[in-house]
Symmetry: C2
Subunit: 146 residues, 2 copies
DNA sequence: TCCTTATTTAGAATTATTCCAAATCTTGAC
DNA sequence: GTCAAGATTTGGAATAATTCTAAATAAGGA
């Protein structure tokens, strides 16, 4: 699930352009938040992003982290994921993928989809923006414990 | 999307048994909340269920509605759905189905799936409990307005 | 009926997110 | 580089959604 170093570099360089294309300015806070997402791809909540971001930028505020995450989602650099009651999670993997979620320990991982929404029914008049597919259950480790 | 009257009747009669099977007691509040879900299948939030339930049972409390909804989910009579930031929604349709969600007006509707999760990848060791599939976009009415 | 235990209730507490207004930063024009 | 305009950041207050608490009540079995 980890992309190669060259592609990741590219990701970072393109941040400014992508923000501009979405009508946003480049700021050090947005770079910091984006780097947090890229560095550990475990689908952190906004609060987890906040705590990680503070390590490199101790003055960053809670509100800013929400603002930055929203901006990243808006300009197509991250996805917001709603897997359960409670905090939303964030994911910088923009490939078509679905989420496997362990209801016992909360682990989340990406699985790239073999085919996209082609097999989905298309109700008349509905204009599809994106699919949100989650698989709930027990991860290998938690399944073994039972 | 509406089931026939006989099936709906059956639904209501079986409430007691299903609660018992899940280790819950039958209460008038649980019947009331379940009836709210059955009567208008528009995927209400807990707060919407609360307001509708109060019409027939003015003394019912907020906490009880949450308790009842949890019990119904636990014993397999309703699903909890997380479509967006904010309140969870509830659905008494226990057939395998996915949700089409209008990001403009918030409308939700069920579409029965042609095939279930057979095409989904099965990561080694992961024990699947259920699939949660949402399609985001614009409903026919909202798509026309743009 | 009586007892035990689950459930309900109102309100307080907690969690997650959004709003606010003042201070600061980014960008483009000069 | 300087400056102005507007976007962004900040800390804290406000709001929304849900969970917790402890006392009162109701359900179901003996
Ligand atoms: Mn992901
Ligand atoms: Mn549904
Ligand atoms: Zn697990
Ligand atoms: Zn709509």
């Amino acid at each position: 699930m980890r992309m190669n170093p060259a592609a990741e570099n590219n990701d970072r360089q393109q941040l400014g352009e992508r923000l501009n294309a979405g009508g946003f300015r480049f700021t050090s806070q947005r770079r910091c938040v984006y780097d947090v997402l890229l560095n550990k791809r475990d689908h952190p909540t906004a609060d987890e992003v906040f705590m990680r971001a503070k390590k490199g930028m101790p003055e960053i505020s809670h509100a800013t982290v929400y603002n930055c995450l929203d901006a990243l989602v808006e300009c197509g650099l991250a996805r917001q994921v709603h897997l359960q009651r409670g905090a939303a999670r964030f994911c910088p993997n923009m490939e078509e993928h679905c989420h496997y979620y362990c209801d016992a320990c909360g682990e989340v991982f990406d699985v790239t989809l073999p085919a996209d929404g082609a097999m989905m029914p298309k109700p008349r008049g509905f204009k599809v923006d994106h699919y949100d597919i989650a698989v709930h259950g027990l991860c290998a480790a938690c399944a073994k414990k039972k």
